[in-house]
């Protein structure tokens, strides 16, 4: 495989069209102005530094998700989350029109929100608010702020938000396409993300480290760890290729504690191995654990417990960051109080568990870690084999051939043939493997484990079981057993 950054002249060639795609683009025409601005940001507000410090100290930082339509409201929200919620890291979640580059609709959302006196957008339309709007936000708070979105073509958003003082950028060419879009070509999206990573690489060359976080959980719904791991590692390679140095890989809680701990342990190890093997060095790798990303229980007391269990795993898994849900998750975008409540509940678990050593090394965890390794290796070598030295090509072909396949994803470029089901102990296994290049021994294990459940429940493994599992946690169970 050949890794080489996008040539700077190619980057610059693309740039005018990117900036032209919405009027606020012209404010960031000078990259150097953005760099100068970033140089003025105190260290304590740099996301990459905060992550590195957490790693050194063995601490887990807390970050919520939050974003509303209007600047003032958004500032009030973030301030509340850092004071009352004691968030360590702040987000700015981008609205769904902006994510699809539908800036006109975002503009309408801003107008309507002003008129309604409440946010009618599901996030902060950073492109519409422009560089200065972003600076108002990042200057108003004391903690590092990250852009969290779900944007296949996130080039303009990156230009504006980095110049606007954000110091971390979520997403990736796979993870912000396949789960978030319907008709975006895999190759097109990967190339647009090369632009983003190259921009951040340029900042890095100029002394400004911006943290990059591929979106680990994908569809958030019963994704087997090896699938999200393979994608996280691929996006990590693509980011490192462009010169990114502060990299945070993510994993979304699956619900079985030991599988989750095995997933976290293996993600850290595998990523480092693949990165070193590809010749990358001198980067800073950290992990983020997302509390349960699938359907939540409507009842807030139950939702609190899902949050606490997630916090427990974050703590036992010794991750550098955990993304926190709110007790209103199943219902709607949380009020700031509800968002803070999720943070406080998480904080309580983390600080009660902080000094405790929970058994993370036992025979079961080793079995699962080993399984995940073999599965990831199977996918990765198939992707590499399809790549002809060009990783982007490899990934495009991998999706076309079902070597990579994300369960329940909306993208038409995703085969959608993989069906996960929980086994009798709640581990996420494969019911249908689609075209995933997994060996027979591996599939035999999955099958055996599912038969165990089938027997226990006295029913065959069918799509009904998949559906039952999708609903299970929202209905107060882990496994979707028949009544």
């Amino acid at each position: 495989m050949k890794y080489q950054p996008l040539p700077w002249k190619d980057f610059l060639a693309q740039r005018p069209a990117v900036l032209d795609s919405w009027p606020t683009g012209k404010d960031v025409a000078s990259i150097d102005e953005g760099l100068r601005y970033q140089r003025g940001i105190p260290e304590s507000k740099n996301f990459a530094k905060a992550m590195a410090k957490a790693k050194a100290a063995g601490r887990t930082l807390l970050q919520p998700r939050a974003g509303v339509a209007l600047i003032d409201d958004h500032i009030r929200l973030l301030r509340f989350l850092e004071t009352e919620g004691t968030a360590d890291l702040l987000p700015t979640t981008i609205d769904a029109y902006t994510r699809q580059n539908r800036y006109e609709e975002a503009a309408r959302g801003i107008e309507k929100s002003r008129a309604a006196g409440t946010s009618l957008l599901n996030g902060f339309p950073a492109v519409n608010h422009g560089r200065d709007g972003c600076r108002m936000v990042t200057e108003a708070v004391t903690k590092p702020v990250q852009v969290r979105h779900g944007t296949p073509d996130a080039r303009l958003l990156a230009e504006i938000s980095l110049a606007g003082g954000f110091t971390s950028y979520e997403g990736g060419g796979i993870s912000y396409n396949i789960p978030y879009a319907k008709k975006v070509e895999v190759g097109k999206c990967l190339r647009d993300w090369q632009y983003v990573d190259r921009l951040i690489g340029y900042y890095e060359e100029n002394g400004i480290t911006i943290n990059r976080e591929p979106f680990g959980p994908l569809t958030g719904t019963l994704v087997p760890p090896f699938i999200s791991h393979a994608i996280a590692i691929l996006e990590g390679l693509l980011a490192l290729e462009q010169g990114v140095k502060s990299l945070t890989l993510g994993y979304g809680q699956g619900g079985n504690v030991l599988q989750d701990l095995a997933a976290l342990a293996s993600l850290r190890e595998l990523a480092d191995e693949y990165f070193h093997r590809a010749g990358f060095d001198g980067y800073d790798l950290t992990l983020v654990f997302h509390q349960w990303m699938g359907g939540f229980p409507e009842d807030e007391a139950k939702a609190f417990s899902v949050i606490s269990l997630g916090a427990f795993v974050a703590s036992a898994g010794r991750v550098e960051k955990t993304i926190v849900k709110s007790p209103q998750e199943a219902v709607g975008i949380p009020t700031k109080e509800s968002n803070a409540a999720g943070l406080k509940a998480t904080r309580q678990v983390l600080s009660m568990m902080m000094d405790q050593q929970i058994c993370t090394d036992n025979v079961v965890i080793r079995r699962e870690t080993d399984l995940i390794r073999r599965e990831v290796d199977s996918l990765m070598s198939a992707v590499f084999a399809a790549a002809d030295d060009d990783l982007v090509q490899g990934i495009v072909r991998a999706f076309a051939g079902g070597i990579l396949d994300v369960p329940f994803a909306p993208s038409i470029y995703n085969k959608g043939k993989v069906l996960p089901i929980r086994d009798n102990e709640g581990y996420i296994r494969l019911f249908a493997k689609g075209s995933l290049p997994l060996g027979e021994d591996i599939m035999a294990f999955h099958k055996e484990r599912l038969q165990e459940r089938s027997k226990a429940e006295g029913r065959p493994v069918t799509f009904q079981m998949v559906t039952d599992d999708i609903y299970a946690i929202s209905k107060g169970k882990l496994i979707g057993r028949p009544k």
């Binding site: 029109y97 409440t118 009618l120 879009a181 319907k182 569809t219 199943a330 975008i333 909306p410 559906t467």
Partner: protein
């Protein structure tokens, strides 16, 4: 007996695909012919599909909070397209933030939807209502 036809999809810029796949399977199993547009379907796509398939009902999902903006005017457009008898159902996390369901229901009914569902409503019930409503429309 002919199979009742319905159009299903997630409106706007909404990517939530999990519920959509489940609804597809559910209504199919319940005996409907489902034309599923998947996620990110525009109003026009819904109406085109309804015209083409001669559907009795359109089932709109909106999970991500922009339901009010995305659904505005769908009833009028349907009438313009000559679909003046078509049933419009909508369900999901329809507005931004926790809101009393009665309020949400009223807003969407005012916009011309026949029935409005919360994410936690029972699908068996929805199927029953849809069958009944389709019957009633026939007369």
């Amino acid at each position: 007996m002919d199979v009742p036809r319905i159009v299903l999809g997630v409106i706007g810029a909404d990517c939530h695909s999990v519920g959509n796949k489940i609804l597809d399977a559910y209504f199919t199993e319940a005996g409907f012919h489902v034309v599923n547009l998947g996620v990110m379907a525009s109003q026009d796509e819904f109406l085109d599909a309804a015209v083409e398939s001669n559907a009795g009902a359109i089932l709109v999902s909106s999970l991500y909070g922009h339901g009010l903006i995305d659904c505005e005017g769908l009833r009028q457009k349907a009438i313009e397209r000559g679909l003046d008898k078509i049933l419009l159902y909508v369900g999901g996390n329809l507005v931004v933030g926790k809101t009393p369901f009665a309020e949400i229901e009223k807003k969407f009914k005012d916009m011309g939807f026949d029935r409005v569902f919360s994410p936690h409503d029972d699908l068996t019930e929805a199927v029953k209502l849809l069958r009944q409503d389709l019957e009633d429309r026939k007369r």
